[in-house]
């Protein structure tokens, strides 16, 4: 337990190892999202123009950065704000600005999602701006985001998550980590009928199976991310 006074002062960036984990520039190497094998693109093309009561889009290959720190540490909170131009959201809230979003996960944990190509730049900004005891962890390879929209999504969610997704309890801009079928997800609502699920890579296939199964009575249409 190092001295409390020193603690706020050490230079975070010098105490941890962060590295750019994306391919060297102009290598042309593309990553594979966790759902690549499901070949959502082909399905999306095949059903282009169709309207589903549940529309699914994978927001693949984004930058996912976990932030840990205490709200009582201004070196952390202000550092994040400097790096992202966004203040950390309150409990169960999500904020978003110019393709950068922050999801509240826990009193000392947030998930920052950024465009894939900017992920290291933003990670570096965070690493360099925050001070004191905190953590900035790149988890981009470990998760993906599914966007669900349509008139039956709320019903689909009622089949899948135990918590209340009614607008009175789950307004736009809320985010929770919860049970999703037999795995877990970070669930947020971006509009009346649009939701996002952050899921873990290794469970992605299971979630995909579950979604297809649950949507059997609805009309599920895959949409490309663009």
């Amino acid at each position: 337990m190092s001295d409390q006074n020193n603690r706020a002062e050490f230079i975070y960036a010098q105490t941890i190892n962060s590295m750019d984990q994306r391919p060297v520039s102009d290598s042309g190497i593309e990553g594979r999202s966790p759902l690549k094998h499901a070949d959502l693109d082909t399905q999306a093309t095949a059903h282009q123009g169709e309207f589903g009561t549940v529309q699914l889009t994978e927001l693949e290959l984004l930058g996912h950065i976990v932030l840990r720190g205490k709200l009582s540490n201004p070196g952390f909170t202000q550092g994040v704000e400097r790096a992202l131009g966004l203040a950390l959201p309150d409990t169960l809230k999500m904020v978003e600005k110019e393709q950068v979003s922050i999801r509240w996960i826990s009193p000392d944990e947030w998930l920052v999602v950024v465009p894939g190509e900017r992920s290291y730049e933003i990670e570096q900004a965070l690493v360099n701006e925050v001070q004191g005891h905190c953590a900035v962890v790149n988890v981009s390879g470990g998760q993906t985001i599914l966007r669900l929209s349509g008139s039956d999504v709320q019903k689909l969610l009622q089949k899948s998550v135990p918590l209340d997704v009614h607008p009175r309890s789950f307004p736009i801009g809320k985010v929770v980590t919860t049970v999703f079928a037999k795995t877990q997800a970070v669930l947020s609502r971006s509009s009346e009928q649009q939701w996002e699920l952050v899921i873990r890579r290794s469970f992605a296939d299971y979630v995909w199976l579950w979604l297809q199964d649950s949507c059997a009575e609805f009309k599920l249409v895959i949409k490309q991310n663009k």
């Binding site: 826990s106 009193p107 944990e109 135990p162 918590l163 929770v176 980590t177 919860t178 049970v179």
Partner: protein
């Protein structure tokens, strides 16, 4: 099935998101090496396991991943309060008994 207020998420969630993690307020002995086998055994295994008011540790496992304490009646399963690690319960077996006596 319990409906549990997470003091960190500040709302009620379904029990499926939580795990019970045993009796609360069992601090690890500060100097284990000085403990006798009996003392260490008591710390490891022996529990109050009360019928009635019980303080226990829960973790919001599929949620904020934070541990917290709960005071619960093990007979009727009523949750009396939740409170954060490091805090002390307001409701105890003794306080309930006193309240019952006063007819509150």
């Amino acid at each position: 099935m319990f409906y549990i207020y997470c003091p960190h998420c500040e709302e009620h969630r379904e029990e499926e998101e939580f795990h019970a993690a045993g009796e609360a307020h069992i601090p690890r002995p500060l100097d284990p090496d000085q403990c006798t086998d009996q003392e260490w055994g008591e710390y490891l295994f022996f529990r109050n396991n009360p019928r009635g008011i019980h303080h226990e540790l829960w973790v919001h496992a599929i949620g904020c991943r934070k541990f917290f304490n709960m005071t619960r009646d093990t007979q009727n399963y009523e949750i009396k309060e939740v409170y954060k690690i490091g805090q002390q319960p307001k409701i105890t077996g003794a306080s309930e008994a006193a309240a019952a006596k006063e007819g509150v």
